[in-house]
């Protein structure tokens, strides 16, 4: 589904990604872990098409298309979804209207007819039940005055509405207590199937207790320095990132 080859990216003059290689197949869950400043969020942003980052080398193929040629909204149309670490607020725009616009824009991109109000509400009701989210949240201005947990649940609700092929969760656990993590993770797990994939970007192992990955990759200094199964996450939890730093240091 997703094939990243030798990806280099920088912001202003600073090179942050320095040769990422990663393959994700449908039905898989991959976790990217790493210490602060290793480039985890940059990778998520580059995949979503954020313009501040300049890709200087490498390629990203997504479902047979050159992802780097597409605008952020085209990538969304192709099925890339990014759950933001810091979801933005838009005063005066209800979450419902925002999501409805998004769903219909994506449908338009895919050559599907826009949902009318009745069809949309039916879909929304269904996903609200699945995500255990209530109407009052969706009637409020987008993310305005939402608690950290509400913002993240709203992200996952939007993911459910947009039904992406590849969902990238950028530090979705940051700032959440354990109950909120469980609710958000349950939401993600309900959306997993054999046709989609999830890329979880996280600093801590605890999220991976709930969203269990097939593969874990350790990002350090802009490169994936170690890959393994979920046990790698546990090892990192136990030994800290220092052991990775040491290993890499020895190699270098």
């Amino acid at each position: 589904m997703l094939s990243i080859k030798n990806l280099h990216a920088r912001i202003e003059e600073k090179e942050i990604l320095r040769g990422i290689n990663l393959d994700i197949k449908a039905g898989e869950v991959h976790a990217i872990m790493g210490p602060n400043g290793s480039g985890k969020s940059t990778l998520a942003s580059v995949l979503a098409g954020r313009q501040e980052y300049e890709v200087t080398n490498g390629s990203v193929e997504f479902l047979g298309k050159d992802l780097l040629e597409l605008s952020p909204e085209e990538r969304a149309g192709e099925g890339i979804f990014l759950a933001f670490q810091y979801p933005v607020e838009i005063p005066g725009l209800t979450t419902t209207n925002f999501v409805k616009t998004a769903v219909n824009e994506v449908r338009k991109y895919r050559g599907q007819e826009a949902y009318d109000a009745v069809q949309f509400l039916k879909l929304m009701k269904e996903k609200m039940a699945l995500m255990e989210i209530n109407q009052s949240l969706l009637s409020r201005s987008l993310n305005e005055g939402f608690s950290g947990g509400e913002k993240k649940r709203n992200e996952i609700f939007q993911m459910a509405m947009l039904d992406p092929k590849l969902a990238i969760l950028d530090e979705t656990d940051s700032g959440l207590d354990i109950d909120a993590i469980r609710i958000v993770s349950n939401g993600v797990n309900k959306l997993r199937n054999k046709d989609n994939a999830v890329l979880v970007v996280t600093h801590y192992q605890r999220l991976l207790d709930y969203i269990v990955p097939d593969f874990v990759h350790v990002l350090y200094n802009g490169r994936i320095v170690k890959s393994g199964t979920k046990e790698l996450a546990l090892e990192l939890e136990e030994r800290g990132y220092d052991f990775i730093k040491n290993e890499v240091g020895q190699e270098a």
Binding site: A48, G49, R50, Q51, E52, S71, P72, E73, R75, A76, G77, F81, L82, F84, P87, V88, I90, P91, G92, L93, T94, T96, N97, F98, V99, K100, T101, A102, N104, E105, V106, Y109, A114, D116, A117, V118, F120, L121, K122, M124, K125, Q135, S139, S141, L142, Q158, L162
Partner: protein, 494 residues
């Protein structure tokens, strides 16, 4: 549709608005066409003879001509005001045509007799003068250049005792009402532009709602400037008698021309005991081109008086057009427990300049006022809010709340706020809040990531910003106004 009611009643309408925004977001000023019909014009320039010419054209009684001449003589002694945050070349008042009317059958007996070219002009503007074809409950007075050419639904409204006609007709058929109320809120010599208007006003709308009558449909006037080198000077007078209610809307457009054209209107509202007047404006005069060439100079005096107890006047304006806007719809809160409201969205783009706001004058006891102003600036434009809240010494228990928010698109435009507060009674409570924000790259990217392109994202963000004001508009116009916001800001975010 049950679920719709339960979950989000507004969704239908917003949906239509959004897809419509999408269709129109890339269009230019679409009302810039010129219609070709024969006109009857006054010679260029302004002297007493011009005023006599206008008055004679309209077969006015002597008292009306005298009133005009008095205003003119005062105007000659006055000076054009320059305290606003506006910069424009000197206006040559002798280089303007003060009267231009399409030649058509005078006083058509029925709407069928209207010149087809005029009818087409209004159809192109989306205003149908055909009563049968109108689905929405809106009666229209259509004004082109200096004259009103048609008023719809007059008969149906007449059955309730409601008078809705052109100002010229009102002077002819209801002289007592006109003499009683004309210039009772905005004196003929109130200010430079009001005096000019009093001297040369050529038409406008007149509304009278009798005691206890709730006007069953929206009343509206559509102003269209067509002729070249012509100024438009209309005068609107609305009287709501005791316990009456009316909602009134005005819309305006003009052709695209390289020369600036002057528009100086006066609107007076009078609300007696327990009466309510809701006045909405969607102002879309030609704003000039991207380099700031051409466009309408819009110098307007709008004022209402809550004369009776528990009366209410509410101004709502969506200002997107004009090269220059100078406009302060105000309310004199004379009656005890009366309420004044001002809701405004002013959008400036390219080289447009707007200096707009309100005055709330609290004279009666326990009077309340609310001001919500949303300024959106883009391009090289300048957008100022200027407001005065005055509480007189007898206005015990007066309350005001003002909120002025500015949104900037880009870094070449300006937003300014000039709030003045004068309180002479220590029981008054006056609150003022102001914010300035910019549309963030983060907001745009967030929308993009959800599949929403940048222009649609900007439309969503500005409509959210302006929502509190847009919600005040009559339903029939809310969607139209949403589209207008998006069109006005077209190309302002790269």
């Amino acid at each position: 549709m049950k679920s719709d009611e339960v979950y989000q009643p507004e969704i239908h309408e917003i949906d239509d608005g959004m897809s419509a925004i999408h269709e129109t977001v890339n269009s230019e000023y679409k009302y810039g066409f010129v219609s070709d019909f024969e006109t009857d014009e006054a010679p260029k320039g302004l002297t007493e003879d011009t005023i006599r010419f206008i008055s004679a054209k309209k077969n006015e009684p002597a008292w009306m001509l005298d009133w005009r001449l008095k205003a003119f003589r005062q105007w000659q002694k006055m000076e054009e005001p320059h305290w606003a945050n506006l910069h424009y070349p000197k206006i040559d008042y002798q280089d303007i045509i003060y009267y231009s009317a399409p030649k058509q059958k005078v006083n058509p007996n029925s709407l069928d007799e209207i010149d087809p070219e005029l009818r087409r002009t209004f159809e192109k503007l989306g205003i149908s003068l055909n009563e049968q074809k109108r689905l929405t409950g809106v009666a229209v007075d259509a004004v082109i250049d200096s004259v009103s050419i048609a008023t719809t639904f007059k008969e149906q409204l007449g059955e309730l005792g409601i008078i809705f006609c052109s100002m010229s007709e009102a002077i002819e058929n209801h002289p007592d009402l006109v003499r009683q109320y004309l210039s009772s809120v905005v004196p003929a010599t109130d200010n430079y532009f009001a005096a000019l208007n009093s001297a040369v006003f050529s038409d406008g709308s007149f509304v009278y709602i009798p005691k206890g009558v709730r006007c069953p449909m929206e009343l509206s006037t559509y102003f269209r400037i067509n002729a070249e080198n012509t100024g438009q000077f209309e005068r609107t007078l609305i009287v709501a008698d005791e316990g009456a209610y009316v909602s009134y809307l005005e819309g305006c457009t003009a052709p695209m021309r390289d020369e600036n054209q002057l528009h100086a209107a006066v609107v007076e509202l009078i609300a007696l005991d327990n009466a309510e007047i809701k006045y909405s404006t969607v102002q879309n005069w030609y704003p000039g081109d991207k380099e700031g060439k051409g466009g309408i100079y819009n110098f307007v005096t709008k004022r209402g008086i809550c004369r009776g107890v528990k009366s209410k006047i509410s101004w709502t304006q969506v200002e997107t057009g004009s090269a220059i806007t100078w406009k302060y719809p105000s309310v004199i809160l004379k009656g005890d427990y009366s309420i004044g409201e001002f809701y405004s969205v002013a959008v400036t783009n390219n080289y447009q300049q707007a200096d707009t706001g309100t005055k709330m004058q609290h004279l009666g006891k326990n009077t309340r006022s609310r001001i919500v102003s949303k300024g959106i600036s883009a391009g090289f434009s300048n957008n100022s809010y200027r407001g005065l809240v005055h509480v007189g010494k007898n206005a015990n228990g007066a309350r005001n709340f003002s909120q002025c928010d500015s949104l900037l698109l880009g870094d070449k435009c300006g937003a300014h706020t000039f709030p003045y507060i004068e309180v002479k009674n220590n029981t008054a409570v006056v609150e003022h809040e102001a914010t300035t924000s910019k549309i963030g790259e983060d907001q745009i990217f967030y929308c993009n990531q959800r599949g929403i392109d940048t222009e649609t994202a900007v439309a969503l963000i500005i409509n959210g910003f302006a929502k509190e004001v847009m919600n005040q508009l009559p339903m029939e116009f809310a969607v139209e106004a949403q589209k207008l916001l998006a069109i006005s800001l077209e190309g302002s975010v790269g």
